[in-house]
């Protein structure tokens, strides 16, 4: 292999001396550093949220358990849900998008780098505001904080106010971040990258950003009303004073359902990037997938009341929300079919990012199917607020978002650090993740069907004991898998094989630059001629130098 051809050199010209040391992390406006800050912070919150989940599972591992007191239990599940949604899954996509969106569209940074830094710091302080409540009384009204339970009369502790401040800070952070992404995507794409040549991950981030602006602004208004009710004597939600307890639920879920798509659409984007790379085949139905993303987002704004089927509503309203929820299944199905068709007649490389992606799709599909049960409102009357729902949304949020999160980590780690993660450790972590997940959550469908409600800190039903024990064991298997992934990250930072600019022979522009990329990303931005610019570039190099650049099926891609 003495004749490795010379690639076109990419040189980062040093203009000013880059700042070094920890101060550079505090003052940085570089999208890549901010991206890493996001991802590192998210990892910490993910571990905290995971430990909370383990505490809950330990409590439920035995009937009539006294491991946690009722108020501790309520506080912990409130923190778990709030952390995973506001401090893990939403910002993890902000983190990956921060790092990769400019690279994928051939830009040198985001449109507003300082605003970007501000977004990150507000997110961090939002998280700290919530966790500061550990030193007094954490919130305990659930991540959905239904009124009147979350009003001062029933939840007097300041933890509820800390929760409101967290929503405000992280919400503002997300909204500003979203504006930034939208401005970047609209204005800073590489020459030739029309809407039809934009990577699908960028498409999903664009839609994610628009959804954030629509949904989180509404949530900000809603929690402001709660803040006023709690502390300044207004009566928006107090039924004894002419307010409405249902108003909160409508406003909250008007945010809450689009939020679900804020969590999963970028995950779909990750799947759509990874599958074609490892199947060595173009994505099947690019336009259909992009259109389905927009379709899901639009319909996702119209289904919020399916979270409220058991509240007082007339049949007409129930039927409307059942039908709109059904409709979402169509574009979602289109995506899944297109992913399967992408694998079809490809040459599938069983690498860790692909395994996590396929595992995520397979798991998400099950969550989608149980979603149909819940959309049928008479059936929902039996299933809502039981462990069936807990299982359902973990199959969607964990199945899509958490699997995609880890897939994205394995896929993009070489670009961010210049080193590969261990494939063997990655495969073990994948199988533990998959088995642990299904062990934990599959049985919860049965617990729900058997009548076990959510959010109960104890039970004394013999049927539920065995179900919960299986679940608890599964939770620890997931924890082991996450631990292995963290070990893999730490080990690979120093000892991983050197990746080079394009270890996967992937399709999008982030692989055009060095790993890790220089501060200005690209000295030269190539003209984009298709949705897979790197394939075009490799073909061009092959033509000009005669040296094969194509990927050969069945041969190891990176030699350690």
């Amino acid at each position: 292999m003495a004749t490795i051809p010379a690639r076109p050199q990419i040189i980062a010209h040093e203009v000013t001396r880059p700042q070094r040391g920890w101060v550079s992390w505090l003052t940085t406006t570089d999208h890549k550093k901010i991206g890493i800050l996001y991802l590192a912070t998210v990892l910490v919150f993910f571990v905290i949220g995971g430990v909370e989940a383990l505490l809950l599972r330990v409590q439920l591992g035995a009937p009539d358990n006294t491991f946690l007191t009722p108020e501790k239990y309520n506080q912990i599940f409130t923190l778990h849900g709030t952390t995973m949604i506001f401090l893990v899954i939403v910002p993890v996509w902000a983190g990956f998008a921060n790092y990769f969106l400019p690279l994928m569209i051939g830009a040198r940074d985001v449109a507003f780098p300082r605003l970007n830094a501000w977004s990150y710091w507000m997110f961090l302080f939002g998280g700290l505001a919530l966790y500061a409540s550990l030193f007094f009384t954490p919130p305990e009204a659930g991540w959905f904080s239904y009124v009147p339970l979350s009003l001062k009369e029933y939840t007097p502790s300041n933890g509820q106010d800390a929760w409101i401040y967290m929503v405000h800070l992280t919400g503002l952070s997300s909204i500003l971040g979203a504006i930034n992404f939208i401005a970047t995507i609209h204005n800073m794409r590489a020459p030739g990258m029309g809407w039809g040549r934009m990577p699908l991950f960028v498409w999903t981030i664009l839609i994610y950003a628009y959804l954030i602006i629509l949904a989180l602004t509404s949530l900000a208004a809603t929690v402001t009303m709660l803040l006023l009710d709690r502390n300044f004597g207004t009566e928006f939600f107090d039924p004894t004073e002419g307010g409405s307890a249902l108003l909160w639920q409508h406003l909250f879920w008007f945010f809450g359902h689009p939020e679900v798509y804020i969590l999963v659409l970028p995950a779909f984007g990750v799947f759509s990037e990874i599958l074609p790379v490892f199947a060595r085949k173009p994505i099947f139905g690019y336009k259909a997938i992009a259109a389905a993303t927009a379709g899901i987002a639009f319909l996702g704004m119209l289904v919020w009341a399916h979270h409220m089927f058991a509240t007082p509503m007339s049949t007409v309203v129930l039927a409307f929300f059942m039908l709109s929820s059904f409709l979402i299944a169509v574009p979602t199905g289109v995506k899944i079919f297109n992913w399967v068709a992408t694998l079809w007649r490809g040459t599938v490389e069983f690498r860790v990012p692909l395994l996590y992606s396929v595992g995520g799709i397979a798991t998400f599909l099950m969550g989608g199917i149980t979603g149909i049960f819940l959309a049928v409102f008479p059936v929902d009357w039996q299933l809502t607020d039981t462990y069936f729902v807990v299982a359902h949304f973990h199959y969607t949020a964990f199945g899509a978002s958490a699997f995609a999160m880890v897939a994205a980590l394995y896929y993009w780690f070489p670009k961010m650090t210049g080193r590969m993660m261990s494939e063997g450790l990655g495969k073990i972590s994948f199988w533990l993740f998959l088995i642990g997940f299904h062990l934990t959550f599959l049985i919860q469908h049965s617990a729900g069907l058997d009548g076990m409600p959510r959010r109960i800190y104890e039970y004394s039903n013999d049927d539920w004991t065995i179900m919960n024990q299986i679940s608890t064991i599964g939770a620890f298997v997931i924890a082991l898998s996450v631990l292995l992934t963290i070990i893999n990250v730490v080990r690979s930072l120093k000892r991983g094989p050197v990746a080079g600019p394009d270890p996967w022979k992937a399709n999008t522009l982030e692989w055009f630059t060095t790993s890790p990329p220089p501060e200005n990303n690209f000295d030269v931005v190539p003209r984009v001629r298709s949705v897979e610019p790197m394939k075009d570039i490799r073909r061009q190099i092959e033509r000009q130098t005669g040296a094969p650049q194509r990927f050969e099926s069945g041969k190891p891609m990176v030699r350690a």
Partner: protein
């Protein structure tokens, strides 16, 4: 350069034709066997392990109809599940990277896109139609199996309406006001002219065979009324009245016992003791129910009179002091 790709022949449909016919045969067998297995599992499941695979029900028409609907969706869901997961796993292993294999460079297929969009929509339209066919049985109270004196009557049909209508005209029924509060349920029985007021906590006594309509309310935070075997849950939202109903079958009382008991608990987070906000519905034969109701009325009356007397005593003591 050509030496680097010795086996790179175009990977077309022709090239895989023999394998695919074998596959097709296997798929055909699979397609025949799977629904049969699925059906078998679902038919046997209720008897073998109710509660593990299906929502609970025990003869109340609404709960039974919900279970029927659930089984239908489960069948469709199972077929989709096995089909799509099967295809995913199949294509994953069938098209594994191998030396010399070249991926087909296909960008899409409009007919396929249209096909699976329409297919998915068609399944959902079917589900919608079926839901509305069963909706009347779930939402509208059925006629009682007994009349106001407790005598069995012939079965009646239910009528459709937008909101929960009263039970069919001429059918006897009981309307109970269910009020949730942290952390108990109270039940206010209908007031009858010339009779004393009846209410109870946590245990709701009703006659079997009688349609019971419920007005679900809350005194403080949001609760959710749920007895799994007697149908779906309904939230108790302060400031609103929610409606549901059930009918315990006339023959529900087990052989050799004098009552049938259904258990449930609050299903919406209502505070620290949410896990212990339990409720029971106890079905009695009509005569027993009448006796219970009379005793309850008498007890409540005596208790209220005693309380009134005590209040008077305290009042007079305070006045005297």
């Amino acid at each position: 350069m050509s030496g680097r790709f010795p086996a790179a022949r175009p990977y077309t449909a022709d090239a895989v034709a023999p394998a695919s016919s074998k596959t097709r045969r296997r798929l055909r067998t699979l397609a025949a066997v799977l629904p049969a297995v699925a059906l078998g599992v679902l038919v046997l499941a209720p008897a073998a392990s109710a509660g593990w695979f299906l929502p609970e029900s025990d003869g109340s028409p609404n709960a039974d109809a919900i279970r029927t609907l659930y089984i239908l969706i489960a069948l469709i869901g199972l077929v989709i599940f096995i089909g799509v997961e099967g295809l995913l796993i199949y294509s994953l292993f069938k098209f594994r990277a191998k030396r010399g294999r070249v991926a087909a460079q296909i960008h899409g297929n409009t007919q396929l896109e249209i096909g699976w969009t329409v297919g998915a929509a068609a399944i959902l339209i079917f589900l919608t139609v079926f839901t509305f066919l069963l909706l009347d049985d779930i939402k509208n109270p059925a006629a009682s199996q007994i009349d106001a004196e407790g005598n069995p009557v012939a079965a009646n049909t239910a009528y459709a309406a937008t909101d929960q209508p009263p039970p069919p005209e001429g059918s006897a029924s009981i309307n109970i006001r269910v009020v949730g509060e942290q952390y108990s349920w109270s039940f206010y029985y209908p007031e009858v002219e010339g009779e004393d007021r009846v209410y109870a906590y946590n245990d709701m006594y009703v006659p079997v065979g009688m349609t019971v309509t419920l007005d679900v309310q809350s005194k403080d935070v949001v609760h959710s009324w749920w007895i799994p075997e007697l149908g779906g849950k309904m939230d108790a939202v302060p400031g609103y009245t929610n409606k549901t109903w059930f009918r315990i079958p006339l023959d529900a009382i087990p052989e050799g016992e004098d009552r049938v008991v259904y258990e449930g608990q609050c299903a919406e987070l209502c505070g620290r003791n949410h896990a212990n906000m339990v409720a029971r519905v106890i079905g009695l034969p009509f005569d027993e129910y009448e006796r219970w109701r009379q005793d309850k009325a008498d007890n409540l009356k005596t208790a209220e009179e005693e309380a009134a007397q005590e209040r008077e005593q305290i009042q007079s003591q305070e006045d005297g002091g």
